[in-house]
């Protein structure tokens, strides 16, 4: 039995001695994990931080038209046009700004109102023809140049695009926007796309997870109870997808499932079908291929959990008078729940972020969030949108993880129990 040291001074001395005795060991273990810590910091925490930053960063207008930006932020954004000096400053800066900065600002403004890009570029081309004049004259001159400068909506859009940080991207990623009064409202019906895409992504991931669970549970059970060589063969069969390249596997599926592919030929030869089935480049294909890709993520945690359930629990259940089926439901199944939770979470999270396979085997209307992130990052170079979609995806995964951790317990999810 441990007895606490009674006296204050003695206790403090003991604590010091205890601390000293462990210091060296703690230092060494800290040094040993330092490289990993640095690596994680650089390759994981930093990119996430950058993505977060990119989703809110808003430098384009400030760089191109710094003074316009500051005068616009002084405007109360009420009904009607901004005060005349804004026009004058803007006209001067539009004439002076470097081409590249103007193009960036035009691209940014085009997100707010489509057509803004051409408005800026055509105005920039013609701005040199305007003679410097009184602010009110400048206003009329700009409106003369293009009547759209007389519409308050464009100036409101410009004001929204001026702060250093903007909620624009993150709002857009969930089909919201700020109206001219600064209130958050739903995007016009014909522009609402991302919520649908997000829901579709979650739905696909949920279906893939469920199918993997239904297929993987019996398989993991068989593996956990198989003996000797058979267990090894099963394990290899499950791991095989892990050992082949993602692209090779995906192409193999395309070969198998296409119109003249092996599966259709076989079914036709057996006389089961008249016309070839559409098995790929649609939702069916997406599910077939994704389930195959994700099965190991489900089976391995399940297998690990089941392997840790000794057979005597089912024996005890039988000895207590339970039919094997009831024993399975009341005893075995609850004991596999940590594995089910871990496997389902892993499968779901990996599926939600999948990008290459869906982009190769699914139709345009089946694309998942990952596809659009890649699209914004690679094709339109819209880092704000790519980052915001990434943040939304990350938020979904974190919420899901918290729910799962609450239900199954975080230590069990991590495989610590």
């Amino acid at each position: 039995m441990a007895v606490a040291v009674a006296h204050g001074a003695e206790a403090a001395e003991l604590r010091r001695a205890w601390h000293r005795s462990g210091q060296r060991r703690r230092l060494v273990s800290l040094l040993l994990v330092a490289p990993l810590f640095l690596y994680v910091l650089l390759t994981f925490m930093l990119p996430i931080g950058l993505v977060l930053y990119r989703a809110f960063e808003n430098p384009e207008l400030i760089e191109a038209f710094p003074e316009t930006a500051s005068t616009l932020s002084g405007w109360d954004g009420g009904e009607g046009l901004p005060p005349d000096p804004v026009f004058a400053t803007f006209a001067r800066e539009l004439a002076d700004a470097p081409k590249r900065a103007t193009a960036e600002a035009a691209r940014r403004l085009n997100y707010e109102i489509s057509g803004f890009r051409t408005l800026i570029s055509s105005s920039a081309r013609k701005i040199d023809s305007i003679e410097p004049a009184e602010p009110s004259a400048m206003r009329d001159a700009l409106i003369e140049l293009d009547a759209r400068w007389g519409e308050p909506a464009y100036w409101h859009a410009m004001k929204r695009a001026t702060p250093s940080y903007t909620p624009y991207y993150i709002l857009a990623a969930v089909d919201l926007r700020q109206d001219d009064r600064g209130d958050v409202v739903q995007a016009p019906e014909d522009q609402r796309t991302y919520v649908d895409i997000l829901l579709r992504t979650l739905r696909i991931a949920a279906v893939v997870t469920l199918v993997c669970l239904l297929l993987g549970f019996p398989l993991a059970n068989l593996m956990a109870n198989a003996s000797g060589p058979f267990a090894v063969v099963l394990m290899i069969a499950v791991m095989l997808p892990f050992w082949t390249s993602l692209l090779a596997r995906t192409s193999a599926w395309i070969v198998l499932l296409q119109k003249e592919g092996l599966v259709n030929s076989l079914l036709a030869w057996l006389g089961l079908i008249q016309a070839p089935l559409e098995l790929i480049f649609n939702t069916t294909g997406l599910y077939i291929v994704m389930v195959h890709m994700m099965l190991p993520f489900m089976v391995l945690p399940l297998y690990a959990t089941m392997k840790g359930i000794p057979p005597h629990f089912m024996k005890a259940s039988a000895s207590l008078g339970a039919h094997p089926l009831r024993g399975f439901l009341h005893v075995y199944l609850p004991m596999t729940l940590p594995g089910v939770g871990a496997g389902a979470l892993l499968t779901f999270i990996v599926t939600v972020g999948y990008y290459i396979t869906p982009s190769l085997v699914a139709s345009a209307s089946d694309q998942m969030v990952g596809y659009f992130i890649a699209f914004f990052a690679n094709t339109t170079i819209n880092w704000g949108m790519a980052s915001a979609l990434g943040m939304v995806l990350l938020a979904c995964v974190v919420v899901l993880y918290l729910i799962a951790a609450r239900m199954v317990g975080i230590r069990q999810l991590a495989g610590l129990k």
Binding site: H312, K315, A316, S317, L320, G321, H330, M335
Partner: protein, 362 residues
């Protein structure tokens, strides 16, 4: 019901691999209400026997009858036999009360009955106040009691226990032995108990079946096993014993057996009636506590001179090893005050025993 046999093993054999027999021709009757212990070294087939009875293994040959009905092909869940597993096998996701309610729920008992029975058995194993704990929140001894209560709560006629106290420390084990005995008396249930601990078997059982390599070497009440072992194996297995190799000169007219030990010394042993007189190589068995030393030994039929090679002080008694020549040793165990003086290593000593305390096995 008559106090006949509740279970009958008839010519049961078991092989796991189709080549080696783990159980050879087991014939065993288990009496109604008795406390029968299967005792044997590890690997001697005790668990296999128990598992065949519980229904988790099928006999390769032979029959198992329960109340006269063959049950080899009855699945475990329909046998109605309680089992306490060595590692308890408590369901970790259920509370104590839920573990106890499980067999009752499986039998379709109504809520009130379940609650009453659970309460009764929680009380019986003295776990009041722990009903809502999970097994992982209990000590080893408490888990043991839950396992016990769970195997008994549906009031089976027969309960099997496979080394149920193996994981407990000595003091707790002895305490639980008493409790299990008491529960057995209270409920009148038949218990088949497996252990490899002979003192546990002696303390608890009505009868003990000694397993030796898949066969029953002897089945008898503890006292008979101790006093009249059927073979040298049993004599050596139950309690401490001096087993001395020697040669028997064959028949003697007075119904006694003369044995020449390795040192050339001669010993005589009485043969209980009906036993054939062994000749040739024999084993003489004498219990250490039946040996007399010093002056009292001088009056006895068998006397040997020896030298003390080791002494152990065990509190209530002393245990000395005596070299009796010819490479043979005997162990003497006596209360401390019965040693003439405190024995010293190297000292000469006279050991002796009565004729009827020596048992001869061929």
């Amino acid at each position: 019901m008559t106090r006949g046999n509740i279970v009958e093993f008839a010519g049961v054999q078991k092989s796991y691999d189709g080549r080696h027999l783990v159980i050879h021709d087991l014939d065993l009757g288990i009496r109604h209400g008795e406390f029968l212990t299967l005792l044997g070294a590890s690997g001697s087939g005790k668990t296999t026997t128990l598992m065949m009875l519980a229904g988790f293994e099928t006999p390769t040959r032979g029959h198992i009858l329960m109340k006269g009905v063959p049950i080899e092909h009855l699945p475990p869940h329909r046998r109605g036999i309680g089992v306490v597993f060595q590692n308890y096998a408590l369901f970790p996701h259920m509370s104590v009360a839920q573990n106890l309610a499980y067999p009752l729920k499986m039998r379709g008992d109504d809520r009130a009955t379940i609650a009453r029975r659970v309460e009764k058995f929680v009380h019986m194993v003295r776990l009041e106040g722990m009903e809502h704990r999970r097994p992982s929140e209990l000590s080893g001894g408490q888990q043991q009691r839950v396992a016990l209560a769970r195997a008994l709560v549906f009031e089976p006629d027969l309960v099997l226990m496979d080394e149920p106290l193996g994981a407990l420390d000595k003091a707790l084990r002895e305490h639980m032995q008493d409790e299990i005995r008491q529960i057995h008396r209270e409920l009148g249930v038949t218990v088949v108990y497996v252990t490899h601990d002979q003192s546990e078997a002696l303390a608890m059982s009505d009868r003990i079946a000694i397993f030796q390599d898949g066969r029953i070497a002897q089945i008898a009440a503890p006292e008979e096993l101790y006093e009249r072992p059927a073979s040298a194996f049993v004599a050596g297995f139950i309690g401490e014993n001096n087993l001395l190799a020697g040669r028997s000169e064959g028949s003697a007219a007075d119904g006694r057996c003369r044995i020449t030990l390795a040192s050339g010394a001669e010993a005589r042993a009485a043969l209980p009636g009906g036993r054939t007189r062994p000749t040739g190589q024999v084993t003489l068995a004498v219990r250490p506590e039946r040996l007399a030393i010093g002056r009292p030994a001088e009056l006895l039929a068998n006397r040997l001179r020896g030298r003390i090679t080791d002494v152990a002080y065990l509190g209530d008694h002393l245990r000395a090893q005596v070299d009796i020549g010819g490479g043979q040793r005997m162990i003497v165990r006596k209360p401390v005050d019965q040693f003439p003086e405190r024995p010293t290593i190297g000292a000469e000593i006279l050991v002796g025993w009565r004729e009827e305390d020596g048992l001869v096995f061929s």
